[in-house]
């Protein structure tokens, strides 16, 4: 298999879907002539031209609303938020129009859009640019939320997201864009990963670690150390999609291991981690040998300081400590 970068995998997904369906159009700030602030859309404008790759003014409410309106007529806009953090200025379009228009019309309208961009901390860009709103949007029925951790998942899930007939909010990471990984060659056929299917990124028997997005990488790192240094076999469940959620994958894993730690970069209050713990304690109550723990960002706005920011975020060390805190005392 080929190794390509996460950003390249995304670009390949766009390119293939632009080819497959003439209704697919990429929009956003600097996505065309500038090739994207993070170069995710590099070369697409040159190849596909003004109609399919559209630069917009800095008017997120305006252009996202425009995409929603166009989608009701059958256009399939894939809209970039330069940072997902900028959701705040387009929130009404994102959570009222996109999430509700199907419902309020009794199913007569349809909103096949993708909104995408990076949603992560760890790059010292401060509180307003480091939001991780997976839980925020998953809270709205009508929306779907996806957060891939690897190049292959990014490509496969993006292609599903574009073909999906519901609004899909696709959360990437500026720290993952440059990460390389195996991605099947397009020559070997259409590579699509369904939304709503978790991926067991590592099998294990002693404890279940659940994560999504860039936290998966840290979690895998922790699992490796747990095995090597502590003899603990951790299973790593990568959610990939938050809503729809592969609840079975999580519950089955916890039933097997009886212990769980959720790794979720978002803040603890009402985060994705809280939702997962709620489900686990409900569906695997009798299997649990210890309280479910979680590793989140420290509960304050994102600090800028490059020397400190990483301390605010989940880390392999914090994950390991949390796991150790719930393992049975050694015999």
């Amino acid at each position: 298999m080929r190794e390509i970068e996460y950003r390249h995998a995304l670009r390949e997904a766009f390119d293939e879907e632009l080819e497959r369906d003439e209704n697919v159009v990429i929009m956003g700030e600097e996505v065309a002539q500038y090739n994207g602030a993070y170069k995710v859309t590099q070369g697409l404008w040159e190849k596909w031209g003004d109609k399919r790759i559209v630069d917009t003014p800095i008017s997120e409410a305006g252009f996202i609303g425009m995409g929603i309106g166009a989608s009701m007529l059958g256009v399939r806009p894939v809209m970039e938020l330069m940072f997902w953090s900028f959701h705040s200025v387009a929130f009404d379009q994102l959570v009222n129009n996109a999430a509700n228009v199907r419902y309020m019309s009794g199913g007569k309208c349809n909103c096949p859009i993708v909104v995408r961009g990076p949603a992560n901390g760890g790059t010292n860009v401060g509180a307003t640019h480091s939001h991780t709103p997976e839980g925020l949007f998953s809270a709205f029925p009508g929306l779907k939320v996806v957060s891939p951790a690897t190049p292959a998942d990014a490509k496969g899930l993006m292609k599903s997201a574009i073909r999906d007939n519901d609004p899909v909010y696709f959360m990437e990471s500026t720290l993952l864009y440059g990460m390389k990984g195996d991605v099947p060659d397009p020559a070997d056929g259409d590579f699509v990963i369904p939304l709503g299917v978790a991926d067991i990124k590592r099998e294990g028997t002693d404890v279940t670690l659940v994560a999504h997005g860039q936290s998966v990488i840290k979690t895998l790192e922790a699992a490796e150390i747990l095995q090597n240094e502590h003899g603990i076999s951790a299973e790593v469940v990568d959610l990939r999609s938050i809503r729809p959620l592969d609840q079975d994958a999580i519950i089955n894993s916890v039933k097997k291991t009886s212990r769980a730690v959720i790794v979720d970069e978002s803040k603890p209050f009402c985060g994705v981690s809280a939702q997962l713990i709620t489900l686990i304690q409900e569906y695997a109550f009798d299997y649990l040998d210890a309280p479910i723990k979680r590793v989140n960002s420290l509960d304050a706005p994102a600090i800028y300081s490059p020397a400190i920011e990483h301390e605010q975020l989940p880390s392999a060390k914090k994950i390991i400590d949390k796991v150790l805190s719930i393992m049975p005392a050694k015999a």
Binding site: N23, K51, G65, V75, N97, K108, L195, V197, E282
Partner: protein, 357 residues
């Protein structure tokens, strides 16, 4: 409302001159149906058979009737919560609309939307939206979609005089002009946003539509009581959209007789009873059109009365229809959330979509 300068004879504009008598009478029937439909909601609303808000359009009928009468196959319509008349103008039936107000399953939105959310995409009517100006980027998008698909069409997007002060509208205007999007924003200026008069909500030069100048966009101001004028000036905007893919703002002056919504008990406090009476007597668009057609020899008092009576009967029948219609089931609450679930696709069956225990 007291424009006294002599205006051109809009009836002689081609778009009006070419109207057949039958078409003119159809317009009269339409404004009567709009009014009678809404009057028909009053009793059931007061009996508690409807819930939530009920924003009446009575007094403004000529605006929706005149503008939408010009729409063709690829012209689309979207508006705010005061949407009943636009729905009827687009060809929706009273029954489905009234049933929606009653929250019934045979309502146009299956009882899910209510008064603010009528929809009929098959008739190019895209709602009915409750967040002030939230529909303005959607209207932009519909127009964008028409253009994207290579069709000669446009979208007429309505908003109120208070709504112009929402940021999303401003963003939409800039994009519309910049990207040459065939959208027509119609500011239905009824002088008030809830209890706030135009002067207390907006800073402006001369008129609200002139804000278009900020984006070098075309605009016009229209006396909404005159169906001929509404049609004449709207056609210019539609032509601009169809032929040049350019947007327009039209400010159409009009008036609402009732409160902001039926729950607005204050509406005789923030405006004088005289103001209301004067409009009703001298500027009522239904009366003025009737008189016009009588003057033109197309209608008589009797034939007009007949049309109005039929409209009233149609409204009464729709109340009966709505009363007898079925409520949605509790299970139907989970329909129409996700397309993929509704259509029982593989995607709709993969992963958990709903999260009650």
């Amino acid at each position: 409302m007291d424009i006294t300068t002599t205006s051109p004879d809009y009836s002689s504009y081609p778009i009006n001159k070419n109207l057949s008598s039958e078409e003119k009478i159809d317009l009269y029937r339409l404004v009567c149906r709009m009014r009678r439909f809404e009057q028909g909601t009053q009793k059931p609303y007061s009996q508690g058979k409807m819930g939530g808000f009920l924003h009446l359009y009575i007094g403004q009928e000529s605006v929706a009737a005149g503008t939408i009468s010009l729409c063709g196959e690829n012209d689309h319509v979207i508006t705010a919560y005061r949407c009943h008349a636009h729905a009827l103008a687009c060809g929706m039936e009273m029954n489905e609309c009234m049933a929606e107000l009653f929250g019934k399953y045979s309502g146009c939105s299956k009882g899910k939307g209510g008064s603010m959310h009528f929809f009929a995409p098959d008739k190019n009517f895209w709602g009915g939206h409750g967040i002030v100006a939230g529909q303005t980027p959607l209207g932009l998008g519909l127009a964008y979609g028409v253009k994207y698909k290579g069709l000669k069409g446009c979208c007429i997007c309505y908003l109120g005089d208070g709504a112009i002060n929402q940021g999303a509208f401003h963003e939409s205007l800039n994009i519309a002009e910049l990207h040459n999007i065939p959208v027509i924003y119609v500011i239905e200026n009824n002088g008030y946003s809830m209890g706030t008069s135009q002067n207390r909500s907006s800073a402006y030069k001369n008129c609200l539509a002139q804000r278009a100048d900020a984006y070098d966009m075309q605009w016009d101001i229209v006396n909404g009581e005159d169906l001929y004028e509404v049609r004449a000036k709207t056609q210019i905007a539609i032509d601009r959209a169809h032929n040049e893919c350019k947007p327009t703002i039209l400010e159409i002056t009009t008036y609402r007789y009732y409160g902001h919504s039926v729950a607005d008990a204050n509406h005789k406090k923030y405006r004088t009873p005289e103001e209301i009476t004067k409009y009703k007597e001298d500027h009522d668009p239904v009366n003025l059109w009737k008189q016009r057609l009588i003057d033109e020899g197309i209608l008589t008092e009797e034939s007009a009365k007949q049309i109005d009576t039929e409209a009233k009967q149609e409204a009464a029948a729709s109340v009966k229809f709505a009363e007898e219609a079925e409520n949605p089931t509790v299970e139907s609450i989970f329909d129409d959330v996700y397309w993929e679930v509704d259509n029982d696709t593989e995607a709709g069956n993969t992963g958990r979509h709903f999260f009650n225990d």
